[in-house]
C-alpha cells in the first residue's frame, strides 16, 4: 500500500503528467482508504511495476496484463531500447481480476490502462465485443493470420499450445501418451495414475476453462477424458507452474492441457520433464491484446503492438519468452519440439478470435459445463491446489 501511495502521488505531481488522472487516482486512494474502492486499488497495487527511463519522459504507457512479469520483461526492455523516452507501467493481475477491473472501467468510461493483454482470450473478446477497445487502424496486425485477430481491435500476440507433460523417469521405458486416446487408455489401465495426473482447475483458471471448453467443442473424447480424470482422482491446480513442478519431482506423472509456453521454457532447462503435442489435435491459444477505448496513449499502445508483431519483437517472444508468435508460430514450434511427433501443422488447432468464444463465458452455459465437470471431478479438499 505504501508503494501505491508513493506511486499515485508521483503520478499526480509529476510535471507534464496528466493531472486529471493523478487527481482521480488520489481521490480513489482516499476513497480506498475509507474502504469503498479498496478491492480495485489493492488489485492495482498487487503487481505494478515501473520500467523507468533515463531520458526525459515523453509518454507513459500503462499495460494491464496477466502474463508473468518475468516472462514479459525482455519484450518491454527491447521496446524501451527503441523508445527510450517511454515510461512503461506494467501491471500484472490474474485473468479474472483484470477482466473485472476492465469491465468496471469500461462501463464508467474510466482509464485503466492503454494496452490490455490477457491469456483469457474469451474475456478479452467479450471486452472488445462490448466496445471497450479502439481500433488502431487497419494496417496494424496486417500480417497476422485471420484467426489471430478480430475487428482490427483484438490481436493475438503469442502462439501457445496446450500440451501434455510427463515425468521422463517414469516414462523411460514406455511411450508417453501421444494423443487423448492413448491418455484415456492409459488412465483406464490401472491404478498407477491415481492422484498422479494433474490439470487445471477450470473453476479458478481462465486458461484451464478455455482449454476445457474448446476440448468439449473439438472432440467427443472430452466426456471420456473427464470421466477418466475423475476416476483417477486427478489433481487440479490453478497454474501451470505448479503442475510442472510436481511432474518434475515425480509427485505427478502426467500433466494434461498444460500451457505450452511455460512447459517449453521448462523442458529447456529441466530434463526431468517431457512434452507431447497431442497428435489428435493440439489446441493453440494466442494471448490477445487490445488498446483500451479510454487509452491515454493509444499511439504508444499501437507502437507496442506493432513492435511485438515485428520481426525483432517476434524473435524476442520466441527466444527469450518462449511465447512464440502467431506469425511463423507453427515452424518455430516444430523446431522447438522437433523430435516430438504430432507437430504436423494440420493437428494444430488455433483457437480463433471470434465471438463464438463468448459462448463459454455465458453464465448459463458455464453453469451447465461446470456441473458436468463437477459431476466427474467433485471438489475435493485434498486434491485442490489453489
Amino acid at each position: 500500500m505504501t508503494k501505491t501511495v508513493w506511486q499515485i502521488c508521483r503520478m499526480a505531481f509529476t510535471p507534464g503528467h496528466r493531472l486529471k488522472t493523478g487527481l482521480w487516482a488520489l481521490a480513489a486512494l482516499i476513497a480506498g482508504t475509507v474502504g469503498i474502492a479498496a478491492t480495485v486499488m489493492n488489485v492495482a497495487s498487487a503487481g505494478d511495476r515501473e520500467f523507468p527511463v533515463t531520458a526525459d519522459v515523453s509518454g507513459r504507457l500503462v499495460i494491464q496484463s496477466t502474463t508473468d512479469y518475468v516472462i514479459f520483461s525482455p519484450v518491454i526492455d527491447a521496446f524501451q531500447e527503441r523508445w527510450p523516452d517511454v515510461l512503461i507501467t506494467y501491471n500484472e493481475l490474474t485473468t479474472n481480476e483484470l477482466n473485472d477491473a476492465m469491465e468496471h472501467a469500461c462501463d464508467q468510461g474510466r482509464f485503466l490502462g492503454d494496452l490490455v493483454i490477457s491469456s483469457s482470450i474469451d474475456q478479452q473478446l467479450k471486452l472488445v465485443n462490448d466496445g471497450c477497445a479502439q481500433s488502431p487502424g487497419a494496417r496494424v496486425g496486417a500480417n497476422l493470420p485471420d484467426w489471430a485477430k478480430w475487428r482490427d481491435q483484438l490481436f493475438g500476440l503469442t502462439y501457445e499450445p496446450a500440451v501434455t507433460v510427463y515425468n521422463k523417469a517414469f516414462f523411460a521405458n514406455r511411450k508417453p501418451p501421444q494423443n487423448r486416446f492413448d491418455l484415456i487408455d492409459l488412465l483406464r489401465e490401472s491404478d498407477t495414475f491415481r492422484a498422479k495426473v494433474g490439470s487445471y482447475d477450470i473453476e479458478t483458471s481462465g486458461v484451464g476453462y478455455l482449454f476445457a471448453f474448446q476440448d468439449a467443442i473439438q472432440a467427443s473424447t472430452w466426456g471420456r477424458l473427464v470421466e477418466s480424470l475423475g476416476r483417477n482422482e486427478a489433481q487440479l491446480f490453478c497454474c501451470t507452474g505448479q503442475i510442472l513442478e510436481r511432474v518434475a519431482d515425480g509427485r505427478l506423472l502426467l500433466g494434461y492441457n498444460v500451457l505450452g509456453s511455460y512447459a517449453l521454457s521448462r523442458i529447456g532447462r529441466d530434463d526431468r520433464v517431457g512434452l507431447v503435442l497431442p497428435s489428435d489435435y493440439t489446441l493453440i491459444m494466442s494471448r490477445a491484446a487490445f488498446i483500451s477505448r479510454d487509452a491515454e496513449e493509444p499511439a504508444l499502445a499501437r507502437a507496442f503492438i506493432d513492435f511485438m508483431l515485428s520481426p525483432p519483437g517476434r524473435a524476442i517472444l520466441s527466444r527469450d519468452a518462449g511465447l512464440l508468435s502467431p506469425i511463423g508460430g507453427p515452424d518455430r514450434l516444430a523446431q522447438l519440439v522437433g523430435t516430438v511427433k504430432g507437430a504436423d501443422p494440420q493437428e494444430l488447432r488455433p483457437i480463433a478470435l471470434t465471438p463464438a468464444l463468448m459462448v463459454g463465458l455465458d453464465q448459463a452455459k458455464r453453469n451447465i459445463f461446470l456441473q458436468q465437470w463437477r459431476a466427474a471431478l467433485p471438489p475435493r479438499q485434498l486434491s485442490r491446489h489453489p
Binding site: 465485443n129 466496445g131 475487428r151 463464438a356 455465458d362 453464465q363 448459463a364 452455459k365
Partner: protein, 461 residues
C-alpha cells in the same frame, strides 16, 4: 476561278451532335440518380435480408436449446449459433434470453426490447446498444411444461457494420455498372451520330462537286429527315433557276426588241440627214418622232414586264381593296393621257390578296390597250363579289382583240414588235400578273363592245 469559300459561322450550341450529346447526358444523369436511389434501397434490402437470416438462424438455434430443468427454464447456448453470427466478421454480437417470468436468464440484461412489441410474432428491429447501431431479432418460444409455461424470449443482436458495408458495396457496384454503361452509351451515341449525320456530308459534297451553273435538283438517296432539307434546297434552287432564266430571257428579249427599232430609227435618221427636201424631211421628222415614242413605250413595257416578272417571285402578297387598285390605275393613266376613262365601282370593298404594284401595271396595260386599239368610251369596272369571285374589267366600244392575237396571249411579244404601237407585251404582262395572282384573264364581246379583265378569287373574311 474558284470562288472563295467562306466557312459558315458555327455556334456550338447549334451543333446537332452537341445537342444530342447534352440531351443524352441529361437523360443519363437522371437515370444515374434514379439508379443510385434504387440501388441504395435494393442494396439495403438485400443486405438486411442476408444478415437478418443470420440473426434468425442463430436465434432459432438458441431457441432449440431452451430446456426446463428442475422447474426452471434454462438455456444451453450452442456454439454454432455464435459461429453463424461470426460470419459477419467484424460485427459485435449481443444476446439476451428472457424467461417466462420476465427475468433475464442469461446474456446482456440491458439489451433493449423492441419499442413496439408485436405480441406473439417474432420481429426484427433496430436499436442502439453499447454506443452502436444494432439490428436485433426477437424470437419467442412457448414453453408448456408441467411447472413452467409462458414465452421464453430469445433476442439476438448484431452491430450493423457488415450489413452497411454490404449495402454500400451492392450500391456502389450497381452505380458503377450503370455509370460504365452510360459512358459506353455516350460513346455509342457519338459514333451513331457520326453515322446518322453522314448523309448531310454527302449532300454537302454533292453540292460542292457541282458545276457552277448547274441548278438542277439534287437527286441523291437521303434519309427522310435529310430529304426534307434536300427538298427545301431543291425548291430554292428551282426559284433561283427561274429567276436567272427570267433575267436571261429579259436580257435576250430586250436586246432583240430594242435592237430592231433602234436600227430602223438609225436608218431613218440617216435618211433624214441626207435629205434636203423640206417636205420629205418634215415627213421623216414626224416618223422619227413616232418611232421614238414607240421605242419609249417599248422600253417602258419591257421594264414593266421585268418588274412584274420580278415581283411575281418576290413581292409579298398583301390584303388590298380592288377598288383602290382601279382608282390608282385610273389616276396614273390620267397623268399621261387626256382620254376620259369612266370608273364604275361597287359600294362594298372588294378584298383580294396580291401585289398592288403589279396589279396597277396590269390595269394600266389593259387601259392602254383599250385606249389605243378600242373605241371610246372606255370604262373601268369593278364588279361586286359574286360566288367568291370579283372582276376588274376594262370595257370599250370596239370590236375587241382578234382571235389570232387572243390565241397568242401569254406568249411574249405577241405583236411583231416593230409597229410603233406595239401592244403584245401589254397583254403578256396582264397574263403573267393574272397567273401570279391565281386570277383568270377573261375577255368577251358584249352588247356595247368588248370587255377584258381579271377575275380574282376573293379573300373570304
Amino acid at each position: 476561278m474558284k470562288p472563295v469559300l467562306v466557312p459558315p459561322s458555327t455556334n456550338p450550341r447549334q451543333s446537332v451532335a452537341v445537342r444530342l450529346g447534352m440531351a443524352m447526358a441529361v437523360i443519363l444523369a437522371v437515370v444515374l440518380l434514379g439508379t443510385i436511389f434504387a440501388a441504395n434501397k435494393y442494396g439495403q434490402d438485400a443486405a438486411d435480408e442476408t444478415f437478418d437470416r443470420l440473426l434468425r438462424g442463430a436465434a432459432l438455434q438458441i431457441a432449440e436449446r431452451i430446456l426446463v430443468t428442475d422447474g426452471h427454464a434454462n438455456v444451453d447456448l450452442p456454439v454454432s449459433a455464435f459461429e453463424l453470427l461470426s460470419l459477419a466478421r467484424t460485427d459485435r454480437i449481443f444476446y439476451r434470453i428472457i424467461g417466462p417470468d420476465g427475468k433475464t436468464l442469461t446474456g446482456y440484461g440491458d439489451l433493449p426490447l423492441p419499442r413496439d412489441d408485436k405480441g406473439r410474432a417474432d420481429q426484427t428491429y433496430n436499436t442502439r446498444y453499447k454506443g452502436a447501431d444494432v439490428r436485433a431479432y426477437l424470437l419467442r418460444r412457448q414453453l408448456a411444461e408441467r411447472f413452467v409455461s409462458g414465452d421464453v424470449k430469445v433476442i439476438v443482436a448484431q452491430t450493423t457494420t457488415e450489413r452497411v458495408a454490404l449495402a454500400r458495396s451492392i450500391t456502389t457496384q450497381a452505380v458503377l455498372t450503370i455509370a460504365a454503361a452510360g459512358i459506353v452509351l455516350l460513346l455509342l451515341v457519338v459514333v451513331m451520330m457520326r453515322i446518322a449525320l453522314r448523309p448531310l456530308a454527302r449532300v454537302e459534297r454533292t453540292i460542292l462537286d457541282r458545276d457552277v451553273n448547274d441548278l438542277s435538283p439534287i437527286d441523291i438517296a437521303a434519309p427522310a429527315e435529310v430529304a426534307v432539307l434536300l427538298a427545301a434546297i431543291n425548291r430554292f434552287m428551282r426559284r433561283l433557276d427561274r429567276r436567272i432564266e427570267a433575267m436571261q430571257n429579259f436580257v435576250a428579249d430586250a436586246a432583240h426588241q430594242i435592237r430592231t427599232p433602234i436600227t430602223a430609227l438609225r436608218a431613218q435618221l440617216q435618211l433624214a440627214l441626207e435629205e434636203d427636201d423640206p417636205v420629205v424631211l418634215a415627213r421623216l421628222h414626224k416618223r422619227l418622232h413616232e418611232r421614238t415614242v414607240g421605242l419609249g413605250r417599248l422600253a417602258d413595257q419591257l421594264l414593266s414586264h421585268a418588274l412584274i416578272a420580278h415581283r411575281a417571285d418576290m413581292a409579298v402578297s398583301q390584303e388590298l381593296d380592288l377598288r383602290r387598285i382601279a382608282l390608282e390605275a385610273e389616276r396614273e393613266m390620267r397623268a399621261v393621257s387626256d382620254e376620259f376613262i369612266q370608273v364604275d365601282l361597287p359600294d362594298e370593298p372588294v378584298a383580294i390578296k396580291g401585289d398592288p404594284i403589279s396589279l396597277r401595271e396590269a390595269v394600266k396595260n389593259l387601259l392602254n390597250n383599250a385606249l389605243k386599239h378600242g373605241e371610246m368610251p372606255v370604262s373601268l369596272v369593278v364588279t361586286p363579289v359574286q360566288n367568291g369571285h370579283a372582276c376588274l374589267l376594262v370595257c370599250d366600244a370596239g370590236a375587241g382583240i382578234t382571235p389570232e392575237i387572243s390565241s397568242k396571249i401569254g406568249e411574249r411579244f405577241a405583236s411583231n414588235g416593230i409597229g410603233p404601237d406595239s401592244a403584245g407585251l401589254g397583254l403578256s404582262i396582264v397574263s403573267s400578273v393574272a397567273s401570279s395572282h391565281g386570277a383568270v384573264l377573261v375577255r368577251r364581246a358584249t352588247d356595247d363592245g368588248f370587255e377584258i379583265g381579271l377575275e380574282f378569287p376573293v379573300a373570304t373574311l
